[in-house]
């Protein structure tokens, strides 16, 4: 049956066409493949497709339900928008890697069993690394290697978890797993790396800002959101996730305030937004899961939009360091406008997407009585406006005029940013249409007078705090710097540890060599007697041997007597 065909393969195998074509035809390929996939997905009725037996377990290529459909829509939208964004450049390596990466993310979303999920996640891990390396700098090479290492480590944990699940007789079905089994824990930690849980998060801030302008946009859409999808599928209602998510929402904002690389600021704010989603999954009620999933959808669009605007700045101004930028609104007015739409969306301004999605998670947390969680999330909401909503547009486009004068972003980039901006505003203005796509039917009403006034107060007074701190000079200036994070462990501590170990090993080897020097002296004495032709190695005649023996016996007799 045609529905048994795994839709993911259209983009994965279609990626082969990219290096075979050129110019407009290649551009058409990058646009048409996600479009064709989109129409295919739209025609899919809910159900399980592509079932087969493997070693006594049932594999399901595709499980089509409301949850997987919603993620497939947003993944395809993101692929299309990124393809438009990249139209101005010819880089077949990146374009084909994007298609394989997006296709495998789609395959993982539709996977009905854990093994299929694992295979697609691994393809996504490898293909996405190419997007980091595509920048072609020494930094991006190193960051790509570290990224790949983390992704593969996550893959190993996933596979080990899947093996445990299977061995324990839980089967391979990709449905609720929970933390009752060893396999469940291993899979959770594997997904935790992909989702950038606290202390497992730093690959994200390390790698994404080193990718190309387009690469960062593409990367921001898939890996982490795929993990949120998997958590929503397999770990909804796991209490631990509430606290993990709360920590995730809070700690990165401190880093975001002092970070100079604006794409790294966005990477930290990604961590913060993922925290909200993880809290939603952890609470696990219909409202909370709806909120988590809806926020993932909205985040792919507005975070993509913010990464796109910073990518445009990187392309035109040559840097995204806050310390070097400022006053770009004069040169790039459209990019400025789109960036502000993205900033308003992530900050959850009324009429923008974040407002109608994040509020579901906040309401769920408050409704279930999680007082401290709610307070921290409210703090994180004010914080996200501060670092992503204000800091990003302010230091890039306004602040003091850096004197940089450049051209506006290419039309293709502007069209892509425009599309993401329209979708973000569309979701914010017509939430009921968007809500009808969510996994659970909902009558949630985001636009109550109380909620609007509360949110506006929170945001306007956060902005006032920024303005006051700016005008009084308390606000920390943007400085050329790096900030220590957990990557210090494997970028400084581990290499330093290796150096110490290497030195110790050298010492051991030297001692051994010295000892062999002493042994050499012993050996030379032994050799003097025993080497070929020496006294004890000669062959003697029988008569001589008999004579020696006789002499020995005689000596013995004399000694004994």
């Amino acid at each position: 049956m045609i529905t048994d065909f795994p839709v993911a393969l259209i983009m994965i195998f279609g990626a082969v066409l990219v290096p075979l074509t050129r110019g407009r035809l290649r551009a058409a390929v990058t646009l048409l493949l996600p479009l064709v996939t989109f129409f295919f997905v739209l025609a899919l009725p809910e159900g399980l497709y592509g079932r087969m037996e493997f070693a006594g377990a049932q594999l399901v290529w595709m499980r089509v339900d409301r949850l997987s459909l919603l993620f497939s829509y947003v993944f395809l939208l993101a692929t299309l928008i990124a393809a438009v964004y990249a139209l101005h450049e010819e880089d077949p390596r990146q374009q084909s890697a994007t298609l394989v990466y997006a296709g495998s993310a789609l395959g993982a979303v539709f996977a009905g069993d854990l093994l299929t999920f694992f295979v697609f996640v691994e393809i996504a891990a490898v293909s996405s690394t190419i997007l980091v390396w595509a920048r072609g700098t020494a930094e991006s090479y190193g960051a790509g290697m570290r990224y790949l290492g983390m992704q593969l480590a996550a893959g190993v944990l996933l596979l080990a978890g899947i093996a445990f699940q299977w061995a324990d007789g839980h089967g391979l079905a990709f449905s609720h797993i929970g933390t009752q089994s060893t396999g469940g824990w291993l899979i959770l930690i594997g997904l935790g790396i992909k989702c950038a849980f606290p202390l497992l998060h730093n690959w994200l801030q390390d790698a994404y800002p080193e990718a190309t302008a387009t690469g960062a946009v593409v990367l921001s859409a898939f890996t982490t959101k795929l993990a949120v999808y998997a958590l929503a599928r397999a770990y909804a209602g796991t209490d631990l996730l509430i606290y993990v998510g709360t920590a995730m929402a809070a700690f990165p904002i401190f880093y975001a305030v002092i970070e100079n690389d604006l794409r790294r600021v966005l990477a930290y704010s990604m961590n913060n937004q993922l925290g909200f989603m993880v809290v939603g999954v952890g609470i696990g009620s219909e409202l909370a899961v709806n909120g988590a999933v809806a926020h993932a959808f909205a985040d792919i669009l507005f975070k993509g939009l913010l990464f796109m605007s910073m990518g445009a700045v990187l392309l035109r101004a040559g840097t995204v360091k806050g310390s070097e930028l400022g006053g770009l609104y004069k040169s790039m007015p459209w990019t400025t406008g789109f960036c502000i739409v993205g900033a308003a969306s992530i900050s959850a301004f009324p009429l923008f997407s974040g407002f109608v999605t994040k509020s579901m998670i906040m309401s769920a947390a408050a409704g279930e009585g999680y007082l401290w969680v709610w307070l921290v999330l409210l703090f994180a909401s004010a914080g996200v406006f501060h670092h992503a909503g204000i800091k990003i547009p302010y230091f890039a486009f306004f602040a003091h005029d850096s004197g940089i004068r450049c051209r506006e972003a290419p039309v293709s980039m502007l069209v892509a940013m425009g599309a993401a901006a329209v979708l973000s505003v569309g979701i914010g203005c017509a939430p009921s249409i968007f809500y009808s796509l969510l996994p659970y039917s909902t009558s949630y009403e985001p636009y109550t007078p109380t909620h609007i006034l509360d949110q506006l107060q929170l945001l306007v007074f956060s902005a006032l705090a920024f303005a006051v701190l700016m005008r009084t000079g308390i606000y920390p200036p943007e400085l050329r710097s790096v900030n220590l994070d957990t990557d210090w462990l494997y970028r400084r501590l581990l290499p330093a540890g290796f150096r110490v170990f290497a030195k110790m090993w050298q010492g051991v080897v030297r001692t051994v060599l010295d000892l062999t020097g002493c042994l050499g002296a012993v050996f030379s004495v032994v050799l003097a007697w025993h080497r070929p032709g020496a006294l004890f190695a000669r062959t003697w005649s029988v008569g001589a041997s008999a004579f020696c023996l006789m002499a020995l016996f005689l000596m013995y007799l004399v000694a004994y007597l």
């Binding site: 109380t450 107060q457 945001l459 306007v460 007074f461 303005a467 920390p476």
Partner: protein, 85 residues
């Protein structure tokens, strides 16, 4: 990329206009606080219904965030070439 010394002045180039915006933001904030008087709020937590809770929370949260992040710089900030060796 080049620097023009004589080019069109933008509205925001006037420091006076930036101050106007700053004052306008205060006016909006105060209007929102006034709005709190007239709205009967429905909140899950009682304290969230207190007068101007969200405004005060937002202001204090952001000042605390920035001041503590600035302090964290002493602990965390390194030279840009820190990892290049």
């Amino acid at each position: 990329m080049q620097t023009h010394s004589r080019e069109k002045r933008y509205w925001l180039d006037e420091p006076g206009n930036v101050t106007k915006l700053y004052h306008a933001l205060w006016v909006v904030g105060i209007l929102l606080l006034v709005g709190d008087f007239f709205l009967h709020k429905h909140e899950d937590f009682v304290f969230a219904g207190w007068y101007s809770f969200y405004g005060v929370f937002g202001f204090i949260a952001c000042v605390a965030l920035v001041v503590s992040a600035k302090g964290l710089r002493k602990l965390l900030m390194r030279d840009e070439q820190y990892y290049d060796y």
